[in-house]
Structures are given as structure tokens and as C-alpha cells.
Amino acid sequence: MSETADLYQAIIMDRTKNPRHAGKPPHFNREGHGDNPMCGDRIHVYVADDGTQVHHESRGCAIMIASAELMADAVAGLTADAIAERRKAFEAMVTTGTTNPTLGDLNALSGVSEYRSRIRCATLPWSALTAALEGAK
């Protein structure tokens, strides 16, 4: 389906159908929540501090779940400052559609820039992660 191949890349479909970071982990230090009132999508993010490990419980579309998965890959082991920087770069990438070599697999989501109403699906996991990192332990 050529007209949407840019959006639903193989890695997005794969991570949506076979998530690796889904579910509540046995140990975590922080948690944060994200809601999209427009569509009812929601995500809950769990963060284990030592060497940052992220898990998520998600109810949403393919873009949101794949974004949560790729985010969990991308922030593993990073400091809060480095995560904030990565979030900024990610949001710039999905808004402009310009891929960024430092973002690796996250670039698979660059197609959402063409679908304005879907950008929020891709950024929701990052909002939840920020809420978790900024919230009390």
C-alpha cells in the first residue's frame, strides 16, 4: 500500500504487534501518565532509575505503541538530561519530517509529519515519560 508506506514502516508494524517493553515491571521507581482526550488513547510509563529502563502500559493506535517501544529502546541507560534532549530532537523530527542521524530507529516515525493529527500519537509516550521523570519518586 504505497500511499501509507512512509507512515506504517515495517519496524512500526512489528513493534506494535510484538512489543518488547509492554506491561508493568516488577521493579520501578517512577511512573507517569499520558492521555489524549481527543481520541481516548492513554499510556502509563514505568521507569526504573538504575540505568534507566522504561516499560509502558498502552491503549492506543499503532503509531503510539510503536513510539512507546522505540522510545524505551532509545532512552535505556540515559540520564534525565540526555532524555530531555532526545525528546526535543524527536519532537523536532516528527514535526518537520527531517530525519536526524542521532535518533536511530526513532526516525521510522518521521512519516507522521505528513499527518498532522497523528503527531500527538507519536509524542504522547514522551510526555508520559517526562511526567514520570519530573514527578516525585
Binding site: 500500500m1 500511499e3 501509507t4 507512515l7 506504517y8 508494524m13 504487534k17 481527543m38 481520541c39 481516548g40 488513547d41 491503549r59 492506543g60 493506535c61 499503532a62 503509531i63 499527518y115 497523528r118 500519537c121
Partner: protein, 414 residues
Amino acid sequence: MSAALKSEFLDVTAIRKDFPILAQTVHGKKLVYLDSGASAQKPRMVIDAMMHCMEAQYANVHRGLHWMSERTSDAYEAVRDKTAAFLNAASREEIIFTRNATESINLIAHTYGRAILKPGDAIVISEMEHHANIVPWQMLRDSHGIELRIAKITDSGELDFTSLEEKFADGKVKLLAITHMSNVLGTYTPVERLAAFAHAHGAKILLDGSQAVVHRQVDLQAIDADFYVFSGHKLYGPTGIGVLYAKRELLDAMPPFLGGGDMIASVSYERSTWAKPPYRFEAGTPAIIETIGLGAAIDYVLSIGFPAIAAHERALTDHGLATLSKIEGLRILGAAQDRGGVISFTMEGAHAHDIATLLDRQGIAVRAGHHCAEPLMGRMGVTSTARATFAMYTSMEEIDALATGLLRVKQVFA
């Protein structure tokens, strides 16, 4: 293809020519607009009437003594007559112009709700209401001590009368506020029966006609409705204009909603007195141009005629339900006996958003999400759905295009 563009009930080809936007392409594909339940497209007649108003006959209403103001006031007030006739209201004074159905319901909650209802009284709504018929009553409950009760629906998406009777059993219910047609399930509610039921229990009835008024002839005197609301933009008219109907004796007893110009009889610093209905409820300069547009929309709908519109949409709905139910993994919400051209569905393995995006890329516009009816989503055991809604300009080919589009979605998410 299952059927020719020419419907046996009306000339869809000719009707489509009246709607300039339907000739547009989206992503290089012919626009297939299946989101009329959210807002309908506008016929040339409405566009021209609004243009004519601005180009040739415009001034403020009810104020000027000059020629232009008098003519504009006449045109504005003529729409009140037209609307009263359209709904078969007993008199023109029972028609209040608002911004939309949401504002109409809020007006009732603020005036009738605060001045006539008493703390301890109860209001009943159903499980299939739009947020516009939930939230204003919650706000009234919290500010005014009104109890809010929810009557259940059945799994097929029809009102559960046993539950309704239970809600009314203690005699505290003073208002039944319920949809005339669900924007998610397409269910028509049995409004004559509901009005008789409410009245027999000493309660008034408010009907949210936002969906129903587009598809069926509404006769308010036959229904014996106390309040009826709808929005112009779903009825092929412009945004920014809505209607509130209320029986005259109710309006007479209701205090104003907003204060300002046009709604007064006299004003002094000590005290102001209120104009009679309908003007008591129309503070400030109204949406003059949009009201003229609504008048043209009513004329347009009546020129096609409800018998033809209803028969065409019935055929579309039957075809839509038959075609979509053949798609494996697709679940259609609701199965009411009396249902209109609203089909909400979910698809195994594909989220509603992804369905809508993939369809959009094929030029097909559907809505996805909770349709401003989150509690109903919970009741039906889903979090969001995709929704196709039909209008008088919808063709059988467009429903076939939707089915083909959904098969492609299935390929991607298989």
C-alpha cells in the same frame, strides 16, 4: 459495484452538483465524505444566501429605523417562521436562535435548571448521550444539588425501558433529557412514547435532535416535546447557528440566559426588565448571516423532501450494514431496529486512528475516536471506534469505496 449512482428515491448526481466541495480531491483521490454526522457539507443555495446577505441586504437587526436594518430584520425573522414550520412548533415565539445544540442545552440548564428545578429534583439521561447532553447536567448537579440519573441501554443499543421506569419510580424526576438519534449507534429513540412516559410521571422532556433533524421529518406537536435542540451545521447550514425550541409556557417562566442588548424591555441602573420570548433569550447581536444561511438550508432540505431523503438514507444504511458486516474481524456497534445512517465499527488488530489515517490516504473521510460519547464507549466495551455517517448526497458507490478501503486496511494490519 452494487448499485448505480442514480438512487430510486432521489437523483444523487444532481444533488451532488449542488455541493461544490464534493468535487474536491484529497491526496489526489476523489473525496468520499462520510463524516456528515460531525458536520455536513453546504449546498450552493446556502452559500449564495449568505453571500447575498453580505453583498446586498445587511445591517444589524431589531435596532435601526433605516431601510437596510428593517429588511435585514425581516429576513432574519422570516427564518424563525420557517424554523417553526419546519419543526411544526405551535408558534414562532417558541424558536430561540443560539450558537449550536450545545449552547441550547446549556441555556436550558442555566435557566430552566436553576430557576424551575429545585435541589433534590432528579434529571434522567441515557447511556447513549453526547457529552453535550451529559456535562451541562453534571455542572447543574454540582452547583444546584440536582440528582443526575442514567437510564441503561440494551446490548443492541436501544433504550432499556425497565431501567427507565426504575429511574422514575420515586417520583423525583422532573426532566428526561435524551437523544432523538444516537450519534454513535444510529439508534432512533421512540420519542412520542418517551414524551408520554415523562409527562405521565410529571416530568418534562428535552430531545437532542442534532442527528435526527437531518434525516427525518420532526413534528414537535405530534411528539409533544417540551424542549428540542439542534445545530444548523449538521443540517447543511453554516456553523454558529443553533436552535432551541421550548413550549411557550416554559419560556414565559424562564429567566434570561445572557444579559445585554435586545433581551430587555427596559433598563435603568436600579433594575432592568426582560423582553418576552424569544428575545429574552437572544442577548446581543445575533448570528444574522448564519441565520439567513440556516433558512436557506431548511428550504434546500424541504425542496428535496424528507420522504425521499429518508428512503435514500435507509437504502444506504441497509447497504452499508450488509457490506461492512461481510468484512471479517469488523464489529459494528449497535443493532437497533430503528436506526439511521450512522455506522460505528471496530476492526480486529487495527486501532480506529490507524483505520481513519489509512482511509484518509484513499480520500475517504471518516471520524475516529470516542465521538464525544466516552461513557457510551465504555458501555459498549470499546475505547474508540471509526464511524461512517451518511447524508442525502452519499452514494452507494461511496459505501463500496469504504468497503474496498477497509479491505486494504485489513491487508496492512493482517
